[in-house]
Symmetry: none
Subunit: 226 residues, 4 copies
DNA sequence: TATGAATGAGTCTTCATTCAT
DNA sequence: CATGAATGAAGACTCATTCAT
């Protein structure tokens, strides 16, 4: 029953937001009375603790589990992270909305609780890795290494967090998981690639990094529709 | 006073989330009593309406104002959108958190209200544009045109929505606006660039671009960007 | 176990008051679950019944056991009652607080239950005794015989009921049992003594007994009063 | 309305005990909703604060207001204190039960709050006074000066705290205010008197000045003994 | 405009009580 | 005997909302 309640809570939190979810709703979703939720979790606060520790933290840990190999090259690492994010969210569809609203976002109700459990070390190692690769010339030097991970997170999680309701609106693009995966994969691969101009000259010139890479925009052939 | 209340409401909504913000808090922030908020807005619901119509919708409109030129090439268009997003959020720092939590995210309290006001037509035109450019070979064909705009939004807004608290945690990267702008600009520029390989050979190789990324992730090591 | 629960209940009732003591607290103090308390006592009400009948009533009975000898003179009787009160409260330290709060005091939760078990007859006999002694001139005639017993109770029980916390406050006198016994004994002995003046003249005059003491408080004799 | 609520609260607290009195009961007694009590006092805790500060503390202060005269002799002082106690409780009949149950008694809900406001200095001065008088031979040396004040309190307050319900029980003595005043006055006067034996030898000086207002103590009619 | 007083509905939380095991 | 699971009935507290002034 405890697991059941935790599952219902997590799902409702993801669907409606934590602040908008009452203990009674959670109980009703599990088919019991509100008193039961207190029986198992004592507290609203402790329920949130449990959600963080027993649900979210585990998912986060899984995402980073692969990134421990120090040897990996950043391109592979990034693709691996993306893959893991998709894996996790496939099994835990409540993760993106919860993550976005209650952890990443300002004033999120799980923020403080989660800060202690963030994989800071791994994140820092990731940043170092990418930075090294940039200096070696194997990763686009125009990217800001410390911001790259958040970009990955944003690219994957935000679309997934919108899925349900978004889909129902005519005119808006369906966020289909496979399409999204292809899209994000390609987007990141392209973004990390060293620009042609820079590739040759080890990017000393760095001419105008902000200048849109107008040169590479040469269209190849026609029927390349995705 | 009405404007003042609207401003306070918007800021508090962004900081704490709508569900966690009471009428009394808004009133107190403006230095009046809760009754005044009702005097001007009658209703909590109507206050939300006002926030959407008089604050958010205008910001959104501004972002898209540039995209109306049908002729623009997607690269420039995207950079223009990014620029506008940064402009808007500079003046309206409450936009990213509000947008993320209450509009984009599942169960956001402003979602329904905002759906009617989304620039769907412009979005669709943008998608068509990008699609055309992809077929013409001027934009990376591996991207999913319908998902591109959400990616832009995610890349810009999510980091901005986290800024305040993120900064306070040691070990996590500061999200500095200028760095972020450079990062996102470079990231999107690189992502939209047509891959060199594909550029030459019409990207027939694409045979397995959809193949789960894990396997193909092995990069050729050497001169990455051919 | 039943005894054990009864003991825990009595002690907690004395420490926190009945209204503030939950069944679960009692159970926890005895190392069992709340369900056990119901197993043995069925009811909160019946638990209170048990406390009254099996704990308090017995203590009360013991106090009066000595007073049965009709022949005793009031001075000895009073000292005997005091002695018994000290005896009983030595063994049952929970008695004073419980008695004070839940029986003597207005709205006490054991009041109704206890009323039936009060040693009314003995009390009345005590009053008659004292009254007779007053008429005989062996007991201070200014005392109100019907109120004397309550005075005794108050003098002994109230200080004992305060002991624990009182002691912890600097500046307040410690209520030490032996000192208190001496004090109360001396106080009551002195109070019952027939005033020297009155002793001789059998006090006839009678001026105005109800006259508020404030005015007559000026002592006649010289020196002492400043 | 605030005063009204405070009055209702105080009375109910005295009648039923604090723990047994709900916010709704207080509100109902004042003819409003429970929300009003929170409107004025925010909190149960703060309501208790208000009761202590705005009701009880003032009464206590009044009782001690007279005792400030350092010169007074203990006999007069004690009678003055008794007089003040009766005055105060005449106007504030809720004081005795509240004092007994919630302040004096172990685990009383106002204890901590009241400890800071106890007239400790005055109490200590009182103890010093009495002690000095005992050494001078004008006050019964067998009494424990530090315990005397509590005895006074007990003698007056405990019977008053029982009044209402006690009266309704057949067989128990009515606690009539005037009778009680006479009783306590006489009891304390007698108790403080220096024992005749001691008067002659030990402390000669005092001769018989200790005999308190012996003159006025003459009872009116004879067979008034109940 | 602006406020203070007042309220009803709802939320969290506690607790006595029950019951199958 | 003893427990864990479960509940209904409160009780404290919050909050949007109303209204007379």
């Amino acid at each position: 029953m405890r697991e059941r309640l935790l599952a219902c809570a997590t799902q409702l939190f993801a669907e409606q937001g934590i602040a908008a979810t009452t203990m009674a709703q959670i109980a009703a979703a599990a088919g019991v009375t509100a008193a039961m939720v207190h029986y198992y979790f004592t507290n609203r606060e402790k329920l949130l603790d449990a959600v963080v520790e027993e649900r979210i933290a585990r998912s986060i840990a899984y995402v980073w589990a692969s990134a421990d190999s120090d040897a990996a090259d950043p391109h592979a690492l990034v693709q691996e992270l993306v893959a893991r994010l998709f894996e996790v969210t496939e099994r835990q569809p409540w993760l993106p909305p919860l993550w976005l609203r209650e952890i990443v976002n300002e004033g999120g109700l799980l923020r403080e609780r989660m800060l202690k459990r963030l994989p800071i070390e791994q994140l820092q190692r990731f940043v170092v890795h990418v930075g090294a690769a940039q200096r070696e010339g194997t990763v686009n030097p125009d990217l800001e290494a410390p911001l790259l991970f958040m970009s990955i997170l944003a690219l994957v999680m935000l679309p997934l967090a919108t899925s349900k309701l978004w889909q129902s609106t005519r005119g808006l693009p369906r966020v289909e998981r496979n399409a999204l995966r292809r899209h994000v994969t390609a987007l990141l691969a392209g973004a990390m690639r060293v620009p042609a101009a820079a590739a040759g000259e080890t990017r000393d010139a760095s001419a105008a990094p902000e200048s849109p890479p107008a040169q590479t925009r040469k269209r190849p052939t026609s029927g390349s529709a995705p």
